[in-house]
């Protein structure tokens, strides 16, 4: 599967109403993400290498109420900020390909750890659905999750699931459908960092917005990545969007 095609896939779907919407599946490793992916796509899936990396990515499709959806199973990662190839690939996809909906699968038995990724994805996209999986295991360890409470805290839909038994899957499909159709009302939790950090972020965001014009990428996320010292992300942006100016500028960014 070529890089170009994966991205065209996602992009095309956001422009052409004919092609099936792309939904990204993200989450920590070991959360049952693959189970959910398999349950949804069944045999209609295909695994390949992320181009130029040894990162595996699977994509497949499923039908719900006569509408086809394309599902991309991103590599399992703990975060999107570090620099391993897995995390770069996932971050790039979410950032540049902008799927119509993103599902983050979280493990109910260690929710706190998983929320780290959820919050990061929330910085990239607001079309987020959180799927809390492995609730049966959590129950076994006497851990209980207040799903409605979590929904209120995060401001995005949260689905409870026990994927190994197929529970919650139809609710998930319904939530995806609503999200793709734009019928979901989201009030995503906004995260405020240190005053110093916020100042740095705003400075960078202004510069990115200034150079890019109609830059269709989430500026705040780019700014966050840049503070991580990841000027490479802008280089990638240039590959896909023909924004060489920004990438060169990015390399000379004065450190705050």
């Amino acid at each position: 599967m070529s890089n170009a095609s994966l991205f065209d896939l996602a992009e095309g779907s956001s422009r052409r109403t004919g092609s099936p919407p792309v939904v990204a599946l993200a989450g920590n490793p070991n959360t049952g993400k693959s189970t959910i992916f398999n349950l949804l796509t069944g045999l209609r899936q295909h695994t390949g290498n992320w181009p130029g990396k040894t990162v595996l990515v699977s994509s497949g499709s499923y039908y719900y109420q006569k509408q086809e959806y394309q599902l991309v199973d991103l590599p399992g990662t703990y975060s999107l900020l570090a620099n391993s190839p897995d995390e770069e690939s996932a971050s790039e996809f979410l950032c540049f390909a902008r799927p119509r909906a993103t599902v983050v699968v979280a493990d109910a038995t260690c929710l706190e750890r998983n929320l780290n990724l959820v919050l990061q994805v929330l910085e990239i996209t607001t079309s987020l659905i959180v799927c809390v999986n492995l609730l049966d295991e959590a129950k076994r360890k006497k851990i209980f999750i207040d799903i409605k409470g979590l929904e209120a805290e995060l401001g995005v839909p949260v689905i409870a699931a026990v994927a190994s038994r197929g529970k919650g899957i139809s609710q998930l499909k319904e939530a995806i459908k609503k999200m793709v159709e734009g019928k979901t009302c989201v009030q995503p939790r906004s995260i405020t960092y240190d005053p110093e950090v916020e100042k740095a972020l705003q400075q960078i965001e202004k510069q990115i917005a200034g150079k890019g014009g109609a830059f269709p990428v989430n500026c705040r996320w780019l700014a966050l990545r840049m503070l991580e010292g990841d000027a490479g992300l802008l280089k990638k942006a240039a590959e896909y969007k023909n924004l060489e100016e920004i990438s060169v500028w990015g390399q000379n960014l004065p450190k705050p």
Binding site: Y78, L81, A82, N83, C110, L111, E112, R113, N116, E228
Partner: protein
């Protein structure tokens, strides 16, 4: 303040700082070894090697080479 490597089994502590730089620092933080986090040593192998730590509800095994970079303030025992 002690290195996490020297935190005895069943003892708890809070991470106060990381001495690592660059990629290692990021990786450790991504796993949850962030200043302010409570950590407990679950198991050690005599003679070095991997030791298992419990933090944020997850058990993670680290080598001495990595746990040497994490500094802990003791805070009591886990019964």
């Amino acid at each position: 303040m002690i290195k996490m490597t020297d935190l005895p089994v069943r003892a708890r502590g809070r991470i106060c700082c990381l001495a690592a730089e660059g990629t290692m620092r990021r990786r450790l933080m991504d796993l949850g070894f962030v200043p302010g986090t409570e950590v407990e040593t679950v198991r050690r192998r005599p003679g070095g090697g991997l030791a298992v730590y419990l933090l944020r509800g997850t058990m993670i095994a680290l080598r001495k080479g990595q746990s040497d970079y994490i500094y802990i303030e003791r805070s009591g025992y886990f019964e």
